[in-house]
C-alpha cells in the first residue's frame, strides 16, 4: 500500500509530495486509519452518497467544498493555517521570543502528551456516535452526523500529522495507539472519561455536540495560542470545522426544545410525552448530564500541569490577545475551592488556576447557547427556563468530585444526592423513553415526532434536499 499517498487523495498544504518522512509514516498509518474507520466508524451507510463538506485548501473558497461523497472515499486532508511571518510567543516565560517551528527538546514530552490527549478525543467521538445512523430523525440530521464524524476523523489526521512530523518514532507509535484505544472498552479505554460515555441516542448526540464539542473548541483555542507554531496553526484551522459541530448541537437541542413547546400547546394537558415529544424537564436533565461531563474535561481546578504548559508557552488562555498581561507571575484568580468539606472563595496563583479560567470562559459560552434556547421557549409563549447547573454539581474530576451538590451548587450529603438524583439526572426510565422515540425517518424533508425541522438547509439547499441518498 504505497500508491495512496498523493496530494490528490490527501489534500494538504504541508508539501506532502515533497516530504518523504511524512509520506512514509502515512503509508503505514493511512491503511490502519481506513480499517479503523470500517471497524469503528459509522455502522452502515458506508456505500451511500452523503452530501458532505470537504476541505480541499485553506483559501476562502477551499475549506468548504460541498458534494456527494461515499464516506470511505472522503478526502481526509492536512491543513494548517498559513504561517504568519515574525510570530512571537504571546504568553508565558518565552513571551516576545520567536515561536518554535520545531519541538524544543525540553518540552517534547509535555507537548506530545497534549497532542495525544487532544488527538484521542477525535476518534473517540466517532466511536461513541457510530450507532446513531440507524435512528436519525431526518436525512438532514443523518448528513450532519456524518459531517461531524468525517471531520472528527480529519481532526485525528491533523493531530497525527503533528505526531508524525515532529515526534519521531514515539510519535508514530502514539499515532498507532490512537487507532487502538476504543471508547468505552474497559480494556483499551479512551484517555478522558467523558469520551468513554456512550452516546446512545440523538438527544445525547445533540447535547454532546453542544457541550462536549464546545470543550473541544476551548481546548483548541487554548492550543491555537501555542508557541509551538505548527500546533497553533493546526488548531486554528480545526476551529473553523468545530464551529459546525457546535451548530449541530445548539440547533439540534433548540429544535427539540421548540418541538416540546409546540406539543405542550397541542396536548390537552400539556403532556408532551403523550404526543411523542421530549418534555422540557427531561431536556433539562440531559443538559445537566452532558454539561457536567464536559466540565470535567477541563481538568483539576488547581493544576500544576496547566501552570507548566502556560509557563512553557505551549497552551495559553482563550483569546490570549484580549488580555493585557501574559506572564501571570504574582497574579491571582479568585475562585471557589473546597476546604474541609466547605466551598470557600480563595485567591489561587493565576497560572495554577488556568484550567478554571478556561472552564469559566466555556461556561459563559454555554450560557449564551442556553439563553438562545430560552428565547425559543419564550417565543413559543411557554413559561419555563432551562438552566446550566453549578460547576460543583455531578463532577467526576477535580475537587468537587469528592462532594455532592445540588444543581444550584449547594453541598449536600451523598444519601440526599442519591435520593434526589433522578430529579436532576436522567433515570433509566427516561433513557428507555428517549430510546423508544428513536426511529429513522428517511423521507427527504420529514422529521421525527420529537424534533422540529431546521430553520434552513445545508449550503443554501432546501430542507427537503436528499442529503443522504439511501437508494444509491
Amino acid at each position: 500500500m504505497t500508491a495512496v499517498i498523493t496530494d490528490e487523495k490527501i489534500p494538504n498544504n504541508v508539501n506532502l509530495a515533497g516530504d518523504r518522512r511524512l509520506q512514509r509514516a502515512l503509508e503505514e498509518w493511512q491503511p490502519h486509519f481506513l480499517s479503523w474507520w470500517q471497524d469503528m466508524g459509522p455502522v452502515g451507510f458506508q456505500a451511500k452518497d452523503v452530501y458532505l463538506r470537504t476541505a480541499v485548501s485553506v483559501e476562502a473558497d477551499g475549506w468548504a467544498h460541498f458534494d456527494y461523497v461515499k464516506m470511505p472515499d472522503y478526502r481526509w486532508g492536512i491543513f494548517l493555517e498559513p504561517k504568519q511571518a515574525g510570530r512571537v510567543h504571546g504568553f508565558g516565560d518565552f513571551q516576545g521570543q520567536p515561536v518554535w517551528d520545531e519541538v524544543p527538546g525540553e518540552f517534547r514530552n509535555m507537548l506530545r502528551r497534549l497532542v495525544v490527549t487532544q488527538g484521542d478525543t477525535e476518534p473517540a467521538s466517532v466511536e461513541q456516535q457510530r450507532h446513531l445512523g440507524s435512528t436519525a430523525p431526518s436525512l438532514y440530521d443523518l448528513r450532519n452526523l456524518f459531517q461531524v464524524n468525517v471531520e472528527e476523523g480529519r481532526h485525528l489526521w491533523a493531530m497525527v500529522y503533528l505526531l508524525h512530523t515532529y515526534f519521531g518514532r514515539d510519535g508514530r507509535e502514539e499515532a498507532e495507539e490512537l487507532l487502538k484505544r476504543r471508547s468505552g472498552d474497559s480494556d483499551k479505554p479512551r484517555i478522558l472519561g467523558a469520551f468513554n460515555e456512550p452516546t446512545p441516542h440523538w438527544l445525547s448526540f445533540f447535547m454532546f455536540t453542544m457541550f462536549t464539542d464546545r470543550d473541544g473548541k476551548y481546548q483548541l483555542a487554548a492550543l491555537a495560542e501555542s508557541g509551538f507554531d505548527p500546533l497553533a496553526r493546526t488548531c486554528r484551522f480545526m476551529l473553523t470545522e468545530e464551529a459546525h459541530h457546535m451548530f449541530v448541537g445548539e440547533t439540534g437541542v433548540q429544535r427539540v426544545v421548540k418541538r416540546a413547546c409546540e406539543l405542550m400547546k397541542q396536548a390537552p394537558n400539556g403532556d408532551v410525552r403523550a404526543l411523542g415529544g421530549i418534555d422540557l424537564p427531561t431536556i433539562q436533565k440531559y443538559l445537566n448530564l452532558h454539561f457536567t461531563l464536559s466540565l470535567d474535561l477541563f481538568g483539576g481546578e488547581v493544576s500544576s500541569n496547566a501552570a507548566d504548559a502556560f509557563a512553557a508557552g505551549l497552551k495559553g488562555r482563550y483569546k490570549e490577545d484580549r488580555y493585557d498581561e501574559h506572564k501571570l507571575i504574582g497574579t491571582h484568580y479568585t475562585m471557589d475551592v473546597l476546604e474541609d468539606g466547605k466551598a470557600v472563595t480563595k485567591d489561587i496563583a493565576m497560572r495554577n488556576a488556568l484550567n478554571e479560567v478556561l472552564r469559566n470562559e466555556y461556561i459563559k459560552d454555554c450560557q449564551r447557547g442556553v439563553d438562545r434556547w430560552n428565547k425559543t421557549i419564550k417565543d413559543e409563549g411557554i413559561d419555563f427556563e432551562l438552566k446550566l447547573p453549578s460547576h460543583k454539581f455531578h463532577r467526576q474530576i477535580g475537587m468537587w468530585s469528592t462532594v455532592c451538590a445540588t444543581p444550584a451548587g449547594e453541598l449536600i450529603d451523598r444519601a440526599e444526592f442519591d435520593a434526589r438524583k433522578h430529579a436532576w439526572l436522567p433515570s433509566e426510565a427516561d433513557e428507555t423513553y428517549i430510546k423508544s422515540l428513536m426511529h429513522a425517518v428517511t423521507e427527504p424533508g420529514k422529521m421525527a415526532s420529537w424534533v422540529a425541522p431546521p430553520a434552513k438547509g445545508i449550503n443554501g439547499l432546501p430542507g427537503e434536499f436528499e442529503y443522504v441518498r439511501l437508494g444509491a
Binding site: D93, R181, S186, S304, M350, N352
Partner: protein
C-alpha cells in the same frame, strides 16, 4: 510536639486494606487524603507520606507473624486508573532536610522488608498495577517479585523524579532498576527522563514489568499469578501464628520506658541513652508458646520502635550510648533456643532481630556502646549492638565481672547489609580473628581486658580513667559537624563488599541527599520547591 507513633494495627489503618483469603493476602492501597502525617498537604491519587508507609511496614510485619498461612501478597490499589503516584511532592516540599532523609530511609527499609520476606520467609509479593505507577509507586512495585501492569493503552510505569523534580527516585529505584531487575542501563537512562513513563509492550520488552494484562482479564490473571507465587514458596516452614500486641511504652518528658528497653534523651547534652535489659527467665522449650512476650521478639520490637522515634523526633541528638544489663546466661540461652527452633515463627523472630540490628546500623547518629557496670550484658545478640556501634567502651573492673559473651547470634545469624557478619566486618583485614573470637567465646565470658586484646573493645580502661575518657569522647563527638559525622560513620560502618542493599542506602545518603540540599532541587528557584507553583525552575548550570 506530639511524639510520632510508629505502632498501628489493621483495624486503625487509614490508607491500606489488608485482606487474607487462604494463602493469598491482598494489600490494597486506598490512601485517605484527609489523614496525612502532618497537616499542610492532601494525599491525592494514592500518593504517600510517612503515615502511609508506617501502615505498610506494619502490614508486612503482621503478615509474617499473624498470618503465616499467607505465601503470596498482592499489592494493589483501590483507584481505577491509578496504582500509586509516589511520595507526595507537596509533603517533600514542606519537609525539613532531616525529615526527608529519614522518610526516604524508612521507606527504603520497608521495601527491603518486602524483599527480605520474599527471600527468607516464603512470602512473595505481586505488584498488581492497574493504572499509573509513578515514582515511589513504581519503586514499591520494584520491591515485589512480580509486576503486572494493566495493558490499557494508557497506564505506564514511570520515574518522573529527574525531569519533574530535579531529584532521584529516592527509594532505591535506580539501583533496583539496573541491579535487581537488570534493565539495560541505556534503556534505564531513557526511562528515567521520560516523565510520563513507558507503557505496554515496551515496558515488558525492557523488563520494567513482568506481565501485561487486559482489564477484562485482570482479576483472573492477578489471582492466577498470586496462586503461582504462593505455590512456589510452598516448602517454607510457616507459623504458628502469633499476634503482635501493642508495645505501649511509658512516655515521659524525653523518656521512653518499654518492658526491656529504655531510651532517655538529654537535649542539653545532645545524647540519647539506650538501655536494653536481658531476659530474666529461661526461654520456653517451644518459642511460640511465649507468643509476642518472647524476649527475643519483644526486646527487638522495642528497640526498633525507640530507634524510629529517635530518628524522626530527635534530629538534634548526636550521640547514642548503648548499654545492656542483666544475666548474660539468659541471653545466650534465648539465642540458643531460638536457633534450635525450626518453626516458622522462630525464623521470623531471628529475621526480625536481623532487621532491627540493620536499622541500628543505618541510624545516622554516633553510636557508642558502653559496658561499665557489673550487670552489663553484651552477650550474643546483644553483643551485636556493641559490634554495630562506632566504638565500644569497656570498663576494666578487675574482677572480670564486666565481660562480653558470644553465641550463635554472632556466628552468621545476623549478617549486615554487606553480607558480612558484624564480627567479619570488624576484622575485615584479619579474617582469622573471627574464628578466634568465637572460639574464645565458646569457653565462656570474655573480660574487658581480654576483649580489648581480641579487638572487641575499642577502649578498655580502669575506673581511674574510664568515666572521664567516656565523657570527653562524647563531648568531643557532639562538637563535630553532624554532616561530616554522618558521612564518616556510614563510610566506616559498611566496610566490605557492595550489595544491592548497601548501594541503595549509599546512593540515597550520598547522591540523593546531596541533590536534596542543592539549589537546583530545593533552592528558591529549584524544581522541587517550585513544583505546583506558577514559576518554572531555573537551574545553576555547572556540572561537577
Amino acid at each position: 510536639m506530639d511524639p510520632t507513633t510508629f505502632e498501628t494495627h489493621p483495624s486503625r489503618y487509614h490508607h491500606w486494606k489488608l485482606a487474607v483469603a487462604g494463602d493469598v493476602a491482598t494489600l490494597t492501597m486506598a490512601v485517605d487524603g484527609d489523614h496525612p502525617h502532618k497537616p499542610g498537604y492532601e494525599l491525592k491519587l494514592n500518593s504517600y507520606d510517612l503515615s502511609v508507609d508506617i501502615e505498610l511496614a506494619d502490614a508486612i510485619q503482621r503478615l509474617r507473624f499473624e498470618h503465616p498461612e499467607v505465601r503470596a501478597c498482592v499489592v494493589t490499589a483501590d483507584l481505577d486508573r491509578v496504582f500509586c503516584s509516589g511520595a507526595n511532592i507537596y509533603m517533600l516540599g514542606l519537609s525539613s532536610h532531616s525529615f526527608k532523609v529519614n522518610f526516604c530511609k524508612f521507606t527504603n527499609e520497608t521495601r527491603l522488608y518486602l524483599e527480605d520476606a520474599s527471600a527468607n520467609s516464603g512470602l512473595k509479593f505481586l505488584a498488581a498495577c492497574k493504572g499509573t505507577t509513578a515514582g515511589g509507586g513504581y519503586e514499591l512495585a520494584l520491591a515485589c517479585d512480580d509486576i503486572v501492569l494493566v495493558d490499557d493503552g494508557n497506564s505506564a510505569v514511570s520515574f518522573p523524579e529527574t525531569p519533574l523534580l530535579a531529584v532521584l527516585p529516592g527509594t532505591g529505584g535506580l539501583t533496583r532498576l539496573v541491579d535487581k531487575r537488570k534493565v539495560r542501563r541505556d534503556r534505564a537512562d531513557v526511562f528515567c527522563t521520560v516523565a510520563e513513563g513507558i507503557k505496554g509492550k515496551r515496558a515488558k520488552d525492557w523488563g520494567l514489568v513482568d506481565g501485561l494484562v487486559a482489564r477484562s482479564k485482570w482479576d483472573a490473571e492477578v489471582a492466577a499469578r498470586a496462586a503461582k507465587l504462593a505455590a512456589a514458596s510452598a516448602g517454607v516452614a510457616k507459623g504458628p501464628a502469633v499476634q503482635l500486641d501493642a508495645l505501649a511504652p511509658v512516655i515521659g518528658k524525653d523518656s521512653f520506658a518499654y518492658r526491656h528497653v529504655t531510651m532517655t534523651i538529654d537535649r542539653a547534652a545532645r545524647t540519647a541513652a539506650f538501655v536494653i535489659a536481658a531476659p530474666t527467665a529461661p526461654p520456653p522449650a517451644d518459642s511460640a508458646t511465649a507468643g509476642a512476650d518472647l524476649w527475643s521478639l519483644r526486646a527487638f520490637r522495642e528497640l526498633d520502635d525507640a530507634l524510629l522515634r529517635l530518628r524522626f523526633d530527635y534530629p538534634e541528638i548526636a550521640v547514642v550510648t548503648l548499654r545492656t544489663k542483666g544475666d548474660r546466661a539468659q541471653v545466650l540461652a534465648h539465642d540458643a533456643a531460638l536457633a534450635k527452633d525450626a518453626s516458622g515463627f522462630a525464623r521470623e523472630v531471628r529475621l526480625l532481630q536481623r532487621r532491627v540490628l540493620k536499622r541500628l546500623d543505618n541510624t545516622a547518629r554516633s553510636l557508642y556502646a558502653v559496658a561499665d557496670a557489673a550487670d552489663s550484658c553484651f552477650a550474643g545478640v546483644l553483643l551485636e549492638t556493641a559490634l554495630a556501634a562506632d566504638r565500644f567502651y569497656m570498663l576494666i573492673d578487675g574482677a572480670g565481672e564486666i565481660a562480653v559473651a558470644t553465641s550463635v547470634a554472632n556466628a552468621g545469624a545476623n549478617p549486615t547489609a554487606t553480607g558480612l557478619t558484624r564480627l567479619e566486618a570488624r576484622f575485615y583485614g584479619e579474617p582469622a580473628q573471627v574464628a578466634k573470637v568465637l572460639g574464645r567465646g565458646a569457653d565462656g565470658p570474655i573480660s574487658s581486658e581480654d576483649a580489648e586484646v581480641l579487638g572487641l573493645a575499642t577502649v578498655a580502661l580502669d575506673d581511674i580513667d574510664f568515666a572521664d575518657e567516656l565523657r570527653i569522647a562524647i563531648e568531643e563527638r557532639v562538637s563535630l559537624s553532624p554532616d561530616a559525622l554522618t558521612g564518616m560513620e556510614a563510610s566506616l560502618r559498611f566496610v566490605g563488599p557492595e550489595t544491592v542493599e548497601t548501594k541503595i542506602f549509599g546512593r540515597l545518603s550520598a547522591w540523593q541527599n546531596w541533590i536534596f540540599t542543592r539549589a537546583n532541587s530545593t533552592g528558591e528557584r529549584g524544581a522541587l520547591t517550585l513544583y505546583g507553583r506558577p514559576e518554572r525552575p531555573v537551574f545553576q548550570l555547572n556540572r561537577t
